[in-house]
Symmetry: C2
Subunit: 455 residues, 2 copies
């Protein structure tokens, strides 16, 4: 297998209090982090000082679940936290270089609003915005938007495809040099460089133009987070960063090759997309210390919460009727997040886990890749997956915050730098430059190339 060189990319995935389900109860976690701007500002500045490519915010437009016994015992699930675009906009004013990526669902939004807000953020931040495109398979969210049920999986992706096309089209409403602002002639812009979209599709009718000029990055970086078949195809078509979850090197390499292999049919190359799986790292001075740190968190999980979390990750299936210490049952296919369900079930089968062991397992990394060990051990794993083309970088999901991110920065990043795998300074100013993604030319500025003739 080819040994690759170069730098890997790093994102800091910022949750209220941390990624672990019991994070908020940890003595060193900030329990009200979700709603404290200072908490996020300090984390974003720490990640920037460590030269992370980006910070990353998840999103949901409704509480995940309706069991108040469970919900009242967790800090996640969208109950008391900032809305991501307002938060990232505020963070843009207290940071200078780090990329700012927020999730926005295509299921319960309008493309004009999404295009406009991310374009605005790209201007506010001087070219640091990224949009993580997701579809929503959650009826609790649907019920906040005039619907009793969420869309079926296929419809969600058809809508998402068209949504992304409309957003991208709106981002091209103006050529880069459209605005002249010629005070003498009284000409604010060159009307020939204004492009009205006039979109009329299956799901949307959107006229345009967008009320925001072309952004510093051409357009914000498009991130894609689904790993189902439809999700991978959407990523190959439009994604520039893919956020994903694989457990083993083999799975990661297969996913990576599959995804990059799909790019050519959309006229894209391997360099047009960065694969950045989530990683849940617990760092210790020794492996034993790391395991102890991890166990300290695991012991804080309320069984009611753990079981409910497993249910959510495994596609909404209720496992409370099965014996906790028995094997995971055969599960019917649901309308939820398919790929996550399969990944979790594969994990249980492979390691012969009981339901209890499985919920403890996913409660930690919540379906993501879990690394518990010394900085060198964690760097070994990250290096191996990177060098074998299983990833182009990682989204770091700190177990608890702020301490967990500081641990990674203090111990793992120096290891990565010693191995020549990570930058010591930013070389660019935009998120695209950090990630090595090219700035998209405006369609009107693309000169068609003559077809190559055989020599």
């Amino acid at each position: 297998m080819t040994q690759r060189s170069g730098h890997l990319s790093l994102g800091a995935f910022l949750y209220p209090s941390g990624h672990h389900i019991a994070a908020w109860r940890h003595p060193e976690a900030q329990a009200d982090g979700g709603i404290d701007f200072r908490f996020y500002a300090d984390l974003a500045r720490a990640a920037e000082a460590a030269k992370f490519d980006l910070i990353f915010l998840a999103d949901g437009v409704g509480t995940r679940g309706d069991n108040v016994e469970v919900l009242s015992r967790v800090a996640h699930s969208y109950q008391a936290q900032f809305e991501p675009l307002t938060l990232l906009s505020a963070l843009s004013a207290v940071t200078e270089r780090i990329g700012l990526v927020a999730t926005a669902s295509t299921s319960f939004n309008e493309p004009y609003h999404v295009a406009r807000k991310f374009a605005s953020l790209d201007h506010l931040s001087g070219g640091r915005a990224g949009w993580n495109v997701v579809t929503t398979g959650n009826e609790h969210e649907a019920r906040n938007f005039n619907l009793d049920k969420h869309y079926a999986h296929a419809d969600r992706y058809a809508r998402a495809r068209e949504f992304v096309d409309v957003v991208t089209g709106l981002w091209n409403s103006w050529e880069d040099d459209a605005f002249l602002r010629d005070k003498e002639r009284g000409l604010y812009y060159d009307a020939d460089k204004r492009h009205v979209l006039h979109h009329r599709g299956e799901f949307f009718k959107v006229q345009g133009p967008l009320s925001v000029s072309r952004t510093p990055q051409g357009h914000p970086v498009v991130v894609q987070a689904g790993s189902s078949e439809a999700g991978k195809e959407l990523a190959a078509r439009s994604g520039e960063v893919v956020f994903t979850a694989q457990q083993t090197l083999e799975e990661a390499v297969a996913f990576y090759a599959d995804l990059k292999g799909r790019l050519a049919r959309y006229g894209r190359t391997h360099d047009d997309l960065r694969v950045m799986p989530g990683v849940f790292p617990v760092v210790g001075a020794s492996e034993a210390e790391a395991r102890e740190k991890f166990e300290q968190l695991q012991e804080l999980i309320d069984p009611v919460v753990g079981l409910s979390l497993l249910s959510t990750i495994a596609g909404g299936v209720d496992l409370s009727k099965y014996p906790l210490d028995g094997p995971i049952p055969d599960l019917p296919e649901t309308n939820g997040t398919k790929s996550r369900q399969q990944l979790v079930i594969d994990l249980a089968r492979r390691e012969n886990l009981t339901i209890r062991q499985l919920y403890q397992r996913v409660a930690g990394a919540r379906g993501h890749w879990q690394l518990v060990g010394t900085a060198a051990q964690i760097a070994d794993e990250l290096e191996e997956r990177f060098r074998h083309y299983g990833a182009d970088g990682y989204n770091i999901m700190a177990p608890y915050l702020p301490g967990g991110l500081h641990d990674f920065i203090a111990h793992v990043i120096p290891e990565l730098r010693r191995r020549g795998l990570y930058r010591t300074e930013y070389t660019g100013t935009t998120l695209r430059e950090h990630l090595g993604l090219k700035r998209p030319a405006h369609p009107a500025a693309v000169v068609p190339q003559p077809a190559l003739q055989p020599a």
Copy 2:
């Protein structure tokens, strides 16, 4: 008439380049202000240093009009500017005390998104957010949101009423002390203090709860900007600040009395609502210098732009077929912004203006109250209207920016202070405290009062 005492409120209405239609062409205006964060940050900090109550941003979700000959000659009309909520969020991080008010239309938004973003801004800013509720009577905006036509006037207000109810309901999803974050017991919140809305109305079905805890101000300040009959009724029912436009003292006093008189039927008092009309001030060292400054701007108006602006303000009616130097014709009632149309026509009739004179007149203040003179003359007018209960304060619409706001701060504010009409320091930290508005109690915390018995 009663002579009142106390302080008036001041808002800084921030436009790209300034309020005057030709502002961007002024030698001292920043032509690309609409998309430069530094421009807004400097203005917000200047307004805060001058102890303004708030800054205020208008909004539209589409270009105003489709005549590119006109549009390519103006800096307004939502072509190249920040989206207000992202901009205010960024400004919240570079200011400490000033209120942050943004417009969001009820016509092409979902109440859950609006409730969430403003609640998030209220937390980000430590209690400085305000939502300016408007309805949209603009088909160009409708066409960005799957609609070919905008809603009829009556429907728009019925939708707006329900929209405001849903937003307010969502803001009360959590009692002030719902979140315990008790690490020892593992209890993140008290489930009895969580209130699920379960709204099912004519226009919206929204379950809730909101994903944001109750905000520092209880909820963001609700601002209302329509002055039609339906708009006044909505303001009396839910508005806490009213942004309006009256030309004369008599009109202002009548509007003020009418609006405050409507409060009682909703169980509200005069102190629950602040009336803050827009003012367009051109300040000079002498009256002659002020007039000259004003004329300099007026001369920069392209006639095509002026005529088009008049058309927009007068309810979408096309006046290009009438003689420019003739009187304003009788206009049919349209589906546009009724109250503005009537205000403009009343002005033309009263002063016997031609179409050309009228467009020059509204091109300056764009339908708002225009004051051209020395600081003392402007302060006289502001004082008179305040003392006679024609206004509780003003939204200052600087003719060009940043210079026009600096003029007002340097010359008019000291005049107001000498008269005891304006603060020299903030006494509170939230927008409500600046405006003297009480913090709304959570409905669950309101103890019903026994009915008063006659003595």
